[in-house]
Structures are given as C-alpha cells and as structure tokens.
Symmetry: C2
C-alpha cells in the first residue's frame, strides 16, 4: 500500500517509520520538496521512504495520514490539492491544539464542530477517518507499549474507509477498536484531549491510555 504522511514532526516521523517497517511505501510531504526533516526521515527509514511536497505526497498515495499540527492542517490539504485528495482516505490523527495561551493548550475548534469535520467539509471527496488522536504517537503505532486491552477509536462517514483503517490499526497491533459513528464523533475524540492533557500531567507520562469497562449484564 502507498501511504503519504503529511507533516515532518515527531508524529509523522513515527508513523512514517512504522509504515515503512511494515513494508509499505511512504512519501513524507511538507511545504517544500527538500525539507531537511523529511530528508532525515528518508535517510533513517531507508528503502520504501521518499519525500516531496504536500502535493507530491498526496498524488503518490492511496492513503494519507494527516500528521500536521491542527492549526496547519487545512493549509496543508489545500497545498496538497483537491484533485490529489479526491477519493482517497485521510487518516486524521491531528488535534486542534491552541498553545496561544500557553500550557495546557485549549482547542481552536470544539463542542459544536471539530477539525475532522472541517477537513471533511473542505474536501467532500476525501474520505476522512478520525483515528489515533487520543494517544501519543509512540502508542499510536505500538499499542503494546501499554499493557492490557486499552482502546482506540475510529469515526468517519465512509464505512469502507473505516474498515480499511481498522485493518491498518490491527497491523499496528491494536486489538480493541471502537467505531463511534460518523465524522461528527470527532468532536468527542478531539475534546477528550482537554482531559488527556491533564491526565498526562497527573500521571507524569504520555505512555497511557484508557480501557473501557462495563457492567457484566450490559455486555451481553
């Protein structure tokens, strides 16, 4: 499978390397074709890795990971170009974190809208699946770092796209994947970051996740 990873930060780097290690082709996209962080990724990841502009990466790929900072995601997709995005799956792992007031961040969109919905509205032919945004990037691609049956989520309007994303999540090692529904469910997944940030502070590690437990009677 051919993947694009938009964004050269730690999230894109981590996801890109994991995809290459699983035997996938990965083109890392950024604003320029010769981005030095993307070049470092290509050198480290080895065979299967390449770099280019956002448009190069999107044109190359069957499936696109949005690993840009939430505040830059719309601009990155605009640079990628609607024609290069049409019909493709976008796995949106980003969060609309707003650090303008310092730490902890707030969200630049939430409650009655979400970044996932904004991306879907801006590119109707893109098949947006919100996923993995509720854990740190190391856990995204290696859930076994944390023991037990902890959970990850998918949300999006396209059932076939969600099924394909779940397949990839299982490749990453996820065993407990909950489909929350359509892309409006991104509101809950992104708003959870307001709690995640505080749990991170209280637990003193980003290597954590939640498991869901329910009453035995309700499980049947």
């Amino acid at each position: 499978m051919k993947y694009a990873v938009l964004g050269t930060g730690m999230v894109g780097n981590t996801i890109g390397k994991r995809l290459v290690s699983l035997g996938h082709e990965v083109k890392m996209g950024s604003r320029s074709a010769d981005n030095p962080k993307a070049a470092a990724f290509v050198a480290e990841a080895g065979k299967g890795a390449s770099q280019g502009t956002f448009a190069d990466a999107a044109a190359h790929a069957d499936v696109i990971f949005n690993c840009t900072a939430g505040g830059g995601s719309l601009a990155a997709l605009e640079a990628a170009g609607a024609d290069n995005l049409a019909g493709k799956i976008l796995i949106d792992v980003s969060n609309p974190l707003d650090f303008s007031r310092g730490f902890p961040p707030s969200l630049s969109v939430c409650n009655t809208d979400s970044l996932g919905e904004q991306l879907q509205r801006a590119f109707p032919a893109l098949r947006v699946v919100k996923a993995l945004n509720t854990v740190n990037c190391l856990l995204m691609v290696e859930p076994a770092r944390v023991p037990g049956d902890h959970v990850t989520f998918v949300a999006g309007n396209d059932a076939a796209a969600k099924a394909q994303v779940q397949e990839l999540l299982r490749e990453f090692g996820w065993r407990s994947i909950l489909d929350l529904g359509d892309i409006t469910m991104a509101r809950g997944l992104e708003a959870y970051l307001l709690l995640w940030i505080r749990l991170y502070g209280a637990l003193g590690t980003a290597d954590f996740n939640v498991s869901l437990t329910r009453a035995a009677a309700a499980a049947h």
Copy 2:
C-alpha cells in the same frame, strides 16, 4: 455528616438515597419548600431525609452536592445564598449539557472555561470540588456495578476539601481516585462528556467507565 442535595432529578435522588443509606442526614433542596419530587424522595429514603428550599438545604449542610442541571446550577446557588454557602464544600457532579440543538447535546461552556470554574468564581468562599461527573448517577454511588479498577477524578482549589470528598468517594466504594489538580481541570472533566455521550451510544449502555493503563516502566 449533614449533606444538602440541590436538585430533585434522578441524580439528586440517587445520591441522596445512597447518603441516607450510609447513615448521613440529607436535606434535598429545590426552588420550593414543598416540591413533590423532593417529598417522594423523603418518603422513600426514610429516616435522615428531609426537604426544603435551596437556602434551607444549604444552611443545614456541611457538604453540598450540586445535582441540578448544568444550565440551572448558578441560579440554584444564588437561591441558596452566598451566606449559606460560605466555607462549605460543594461537590459539583453536574455537566453543562446543552440540548437546545437536540441529541447528542453540546456543552454550554467548555474549552477555556467550565461550569466548575464559573461556580467557584461566583462564590469564592465556596470550596468547589468537581467530582463524579464522568459517570452516570448509578455508578457514581455504586462503582462496583462495573467490574475492575475503573477510575474517578477530583479537581478543586482546596486540598482539604478534596481530601474530604475522596473520603466520601471511598464510602461510595471507589478505589481508584485521581486528583487532577485545581478547578481549571474541570474543563477536561466536563469536555469528556462530549466523548462519553458517544461512547454511551456505541456501547448501548450507560453502565460503563474507563480504566487508566500505562506502560509498566512509567508506573515505577
């Protein structure tokens, strides 16, 4: 211990009965001294239960539960009266749910503020502790309904108040209680409702909660 329960809905009724069953005195407060739902609570809960206005209930109590709907919480506390609230602990289990757009609800305040903070700002001499708002009311008072080491949270500015609330949570049966910090942490706890509502839909039951798991190395 003398408790006030502000609100006559299912949350107030459930918490009030549990407190009475544990041997506490409980006065349920509402807008009128002769509220029929409060009268039904008193009849059902038996010895130790009484009713009155918001002001009667607050004046009677050492510890006050805010079980009003989020949209009515400030008005209920205003009716209770700042003098009757001063120095007392308010356990705020409410959520600022806004059903004006239908279901699922949005929040009437979130992200850079929270209902917990609004109550604390409006009544500076009140010792607000946000607690229990992340589970349904049956679980609030009987966490053993759901198996395993699932978690509840406290947040507030007053350490002694939080310690006393944690003591009560242990009386209810909670074993895993995480202190997230000051009352601004209510932002994360209330925003989680946007996810909770969607988990409720996906799981088909309100009888669920989350456990926290972290990497073994990080636990040391």
